[in-house]
Structure formats: structure tokens, C-alpha cells
Assembly symmetry: C2
Homo-oligomer: 387 residues x 2
């Protein structure tokens, strides 16, 4: 580990920003995309693959790691970096999103959330305090505060009550984070990364006034960075873009801005255009396993019979391992045959596409040509799968 947490904007182009996010496990150049390694591995890849792709940070899920193998075991191994053998930055979510997705199996009260494990039905409880402690055990470089995430659509009154609870939880989560940072002995288990940062989460669904309150109050609590939560939950894409634009414009200029759980490649471009610095999303990895490849012209479904004898690569301009070595015909065959290698090759391609898009955006911002990049991107990319 080296150095403390910091963030600095190095270049601007309109509302778009390029910057450097320094963490105890190294620097992340922004705008950045963190591939999702839910349970401590990016599904179907080795860490070597992920590093070769140029990923500078991965996301891991507190909910899954808490249930198995448990933060105690990971803490005793020296933290998540040591346990999984990954020495670059790690961001952990708070577990909130997964817990709220459990439906019948969770019960929310003012103190926190009780829920039953999807693995064995065992009873667990997450609170703003325990989510901070668990993440202290994991020792991620960026921990997220425990929040309540609303679904879409949601009444304004419900969204307001939820946002206000999120603020109360944010205060408690921040207090706990600071207390254990100052006195690690207070932490349940072992605090494994003294340089850990904690980000606040802005909620308020699609209501600008709620988002404004959430933003103002979250910033007044004070975190090392700020995230926009509660988007990509079913709202129309234009609504999402509007919320991102309005919220990002009011977020502190000096801190990193993270849009959680989003999205399709064009969503990343539009969100960077609105001032977002950091993303994570399961789309490139999950869709890869389902046979969807993202290309410069848009998503394609590798299952289609039209590719059975197509000896061209998925994207002739793509420089990823898969496109440089394999044909649509072979990838289709492997997918239809159910070979694990299909998931690996598709995932390599999709993550490359995401990371390459981020690198192109960063270069464009640095060179002051982001608007022309954005136009060219939309001229070729269509999010509608080819029929």
C-alpha cells in the first residue's frame, strides 16, 4: 500500500472531466469504469486477464462477501486484496442494493435491515454501522455508505421519506467510519486498510428537489467522494440523463463523482458529458455470459444463426484478444455448445470495449475534442440489438 486517498481534476472539456483518483492501492485515471467482481473474481476471468485489459479498479459486493466467506475470514487473511490476490484498487458497495432486492426476504426498520441469506436462509442484519465495519474488514480502497435504494416508479412522498432515511443512515455510517478510523480497536473484526475512503450516496429518485436536498445534506455530512444512487432502476434513459445532469452540476467540483450501476456504453458517454468520473456495471460481464457482445455499432447476439459461418471477428476495428484471434462463427459455436471458454472470450471483449471507450473519452477530454468524440460515437453506436 502506498499513499492516501485523493482526487484531482486535471483536464476539463465542457462539463466532462479527466482526473486522477489516488488510493492506497494505486491511481485510477478518470473517467473510469470498474468491472464488477461480485464475489472477488470478475466472472470467467483471471485477475491477469483483468489487468491485461487495463482495468485500474474492480468492484466487489459486500452482501455476497459477508454471506460467504464472511468478512471475519477475509479480515484474518489480511483483507480482500490479500485474500483474492488483487493488488489494485477495490471499491465495495454497502450491501444495501442487494439487500433491498431481496423482496420478501428482508424487513426494513429505522435501525437497519434484517434479511435472510439467499444461500441458506440464515438470518442477517445490516445497519449503517455494521456495513462500515464489514467494509473495514474487507479493506477496500473505497467503501460506500449504507443507503436505501428506491425502485422506479415511486411516489414523491415515499421517495422523500426514503431519501431522508438515507440521510440519517449516512450520518450514522459516517460517524461509525470516522470512529473506527480513529480507533481501529472499536471495529468489529480487523480494520485492514487504514487508508480506506468512504463515499456518500445521493438519492431522491427522479425528483429534482429531493435530489437537491439529498446532495446538499450528504455533502454537509462530508465524505471523500459522492455517488449518484437509485438510477438505472427502470426509468427512461432521458430521465436518467436529466437527473445525472442536474445532480452532477451541483456536486462538489473537487471531489470524484460516481454514477452507481450504470450502464450501456452510450450511457457512459452521456454521463461523462454531464460531469461523471466513475462507473461500475454488471452489463458487460453479465451480457457476455448471455451471448451479447457490445461492438462499435451496438450490441449483437452471438446466438444468431446468421453468424454460423461468419469468419469475421465480432468487431473488425477492435483490438481485444477475442477479436484479434476468433471469428463470430467460432464464438457462436462455443456459446451454443455451452463451453465455458465462450463466457471468457465474450467477457474479454465486452470489458475491453468498455475500458477502451473510457480511454478514448479520457484522451478526447485531455485533447479538448470530447464533443467530436461524442458525436462520432453516437453516429456508429446504436443500443438497439440488430434484428
Amino acid at each position: 500500500m502506498s499513499g492516501a486517498f485523493s482526487f484531482g481534476v486535471t483536464h476539463r472539456d465542457g462539463a466532462a472531466r479527466a482526473g486522477e483518483l489516488a488510493t492506497p492501492h494505486g491511481v485510477v485515471e478518470t473517467p473510469a469504469f470498474a468491472p464488477v467482481g461480485t464475489r472477488g473474481a470478475v466472472k470467467s476471468l483471471t485477475h491477469r486477464d483483468v489487468v491485461d485489459l487495463g482495468a485500474q479498479m474492480v468492484l466487489a459486493n459486500t452482501y455476497h462477501l459477508h454471506l460467504r466467506p464472511g468478512e471475519d475470514l477475509i479480515g484474518r487473511a489480511g483483507g480482500l486484496h490479500a485474500f483474492i490476490g488483487w493488488d489494485r484498487p477495490i471499491l465495495t458497495d454497502s450491501g444495501g442494493y442487494q439487500v433491498f432486492s431481496l423482496g420478501d426476504r428482508r424487513r426494513i426498520d429505522e435501525e437497519g435491515v434484517s434479511f435472510r441469506s439467499h444461500l441458506d436462509g440464515s438470518l442477517h442484519r445490516l445497519t449503517p454501522e455494521s456495513a462500515a465495519d464489514i467494509q473495514a474488514n474487507l479493506g477496500s480502497d473505497i467503501a460506500m455508505v449504507f443507503d436505501e435504494c428506491t425502485s422506479y416508479p415511486v411516489d414523491e412522498a415515499v421517495a422523500r421519506a426514503s431519501m431522508e432515511r438515507t440521510l440519517r443512515w449516512a450520518e450514522r455510517g459516517r460517524r461509525r467510519f470516522q470512529a473506527i478510523s480513529e480507533d481501529p480497536d472499536l471495529c468489529e473484526g480487523v480494520l485492514t486498510n487504514p487508508g480506506q475512503a468512504q463515499f456518500g450516496i445521493i438519492q431522491g429518485s427522479v425528483y429534482p428537489s429531493l435530489r437537491a436536498v439529498s446532495l446538499r445534506e450528504t455533502v454537509s455530512i462530508g465524505f471523500e467522494g459522492y455517488a449518484i444512487g437509485g438510477l438505472s432502476v427502470g426509468e427512461p434513459v432521458d430521465v436518467m440523463y436529466d437527473v445525472v445532469a442536474e445532480t452532477a452540476a451541483q456536486m462538489p467540483d473537487a471531489e470524484v463523482r460516481y454514477l452507481m450501476g450504470t450502464g450501456m456504453p452510450d450511457d457512459l458517454v452521456e454521463s461523462v458529458a454531464r460531469g461523471i468520473d466513475l462507473f461500475d456495471c454488471v452489463l458487460p460481464t453479465r451480457n457476455a455470459r448471455n451471448g451479447q457482445l457490445l461492438t462499435r455499432t451496438g450490441p449483437i447476439s452471438i446466438k444468431q444463426a446468421r453468424y454460423a459461418e461468419d469468419n469475421r471477428p465480432p468487431d473488425p476495428e477492435c483490438s481485444c484478444y477475442t477479436c484479434r484471434h476468433h471469428s463470430l462463427a467460432y464464438l457462436r459455436y462455443l456459446f451454443v455448445a455451452g463451453e465455458m471458454t465462450a463466457s471468457t472470450l465474450n467477457t474479454l471483449h465486452n470489458i475491453h470495449f468498455y475500458l477502451d471507450t473510457m480511454r478514448r473519452m479520457r484522451d478526447a477530454i485531455v485533447f479538448g475534442s470530447f464533443e467530436s468524440f461524442r458525436q462520432r460515437f453516437h453516429e456508429t453506436f446504436s443500443r438497439r440489438p440488430r434484428s
Copy 2:
């Protein structure tokens, strides 16, 4: 493609041989182990992984490729090398072993075997001639002649009749191979690798007199190389070693000797000691997916609770990617969680172990120290899993 097929022994140490097997897609240093890529991919790995491990040849299965995507499609793509994007040597089996394993779903007659696909129940037929044509379409560097494989135990009379049928089939298979080599237009589909070699297969179960007849007659037909088939089918290991010793000693000295479908690491050492040059086996890959890791001291089961907090690598002396980067605890966790990456990491380790053992044997033969290698190997390796 470059060069024609040839084999030469370069070093000897007792009955053990080191040699070079030249094929249209490059040289294989023997003794060699070919990882199994049943359907055109080594399960859970990319070709890049396989090359990094140092594999100089892979095996692919004619039965599986015939059923899906079919040799016609592969032929139109330019052959198996082009279709799967692998430019090193490929060996294909004849499909016989898989077909005979189908039990109720196959019917054998003097002409060949009729069988129903395990995928969709469709009716297919393999004969010595069609097996040669299919492999000509695939364009593997080494094709195997179509043989009948007996189970164990089997009466001597049954073994004799089967061995004699295998000889009649070998004559027909060789005649077809030579005919389409001389006039590719005779071949059903496209002959994609004019430099393809064809190996004969010695049968005869565990009966020395039958093995001797099979060997003599197969050699008198004349192939580019010879394989010992019908072993590793349930016979005691000492019986297998005896058959290998007696057969190998009578095999042509100038041609490559291939022991099909074998075995555990100690089987490879004992078979090289008896004069075998080439191996393939699903054990390292299949066992990896089942959580069995092969180490210098023997196999271990990664599932065991004893590894839950063991932060050591599977084999501290192993230089593979998995052992250099990951702990038993992480590998156990990934396996128990059902993560695909567990299969990849375990497979990387097991194939490395096999290929590393082959390289050590080759070095020992070259330096004239094979016997001391063999003794040291057995001093540390026990094939019985640790309890």
C-alpha cells in the same frame, strides 16, 4: 503451415526417449502431453492460456466436432486450425472411443458403427472410411485410424475378435487415407491439411499374444506413427504398465509412440520409462473442474474445509500463475461459490503440472538422469488423495 510430418529420437536414457515430432503446424518436443480440447477449446481456458502454459499440441474429438458444428462447416472455414484460431499442432481421435461409450445408442457391424447423437438423438454412422474423411475435413496434423476399443475385463476370444476387426478396419482406414491424400477430390468435403499424418492403433486388451499380433499387423499396414489403445479402461495399474512395457518394446524404434487417454502423473512417468513419447488425457482438466488439484505430493481436493483459511499456495514449489498468485483459501472459496474462475485457475495449475512434469522428464532424458528423476518423483508423489 510449414514442413511435412517427421519424427526423430534425439536422446535416449534406458528405454526412455526424447525426440522431435515435426508437423505441418510446428514441432512437438517429446515426451509430450497434449491437453484435451474436446470441442475445439480446452475447457475454461483461452488458447492464449494454453500457449502460455507451453502446450505444443492439443487433442480434439472427432465425435463431438462431427455432431456440432460438423466437419462440413469446419472444412468450409478452412479446417479446424482456422475455425478455432489455433495455429499449433492438433491431434484428432477417430471418434471410435466416444461412439463405443454410447452403449445402447450404438450398433456395431463389420462395416462400421451406427449411433444416435447424445445431443438430439439423430442417427449417424462412422466407418473407417468416413472417420478418415471427417478428419481430412478437420485437417488435424495427426489423424487416428478408426478402431474398436474393448472394455475391461474382456474374454480373450472377444478381445481377439475385436482386435482382428480393428486390423481389418485399419487396412480400410489406411487405404482411404492414402486415396484421398493422392486425390483430394475423392474426399467427402474439403481436405484442409495436405500434410496430415495418420496413426495406427494397437489393440488386444491385456493379452500379450493379442497385442503382439495387433502390433505386427498394424505396423505391416504402415502408418506415420503408432498408438497403444484400449488401456486406462479399468485394468489395474500394474497390468497397464506391463502391457505398455511389452508393447512399446516391440514398437518401431523410428516412429513416435502414443499412449492414448492416459493417465495420472505417475502413469506418465512410468510410461515414458517404458518408451512412450506422447500422451493425452482428460484428467488434469476434468479433475480441475471437480476441484482436484495435482501437486508434487499428489492430488488434493480443494473442497476440503481444512483449506478454508490456508493462505499458502496449492504447491509452494509450483511456478504456475495460480500458485504464484492465489491461496488455497481463495481457490476453495471460489470453488464452493461456484465461480467459473475456479475452473480456470484449477485448470491452469493442473495443465502446468502435467506439462512441467513432461519438461522435467525430457530434460532428465537429455542429461541422462531419467532414473534419478523417476525415483525422486515417486518419493514425493502419491496418487492417493490426502485424507
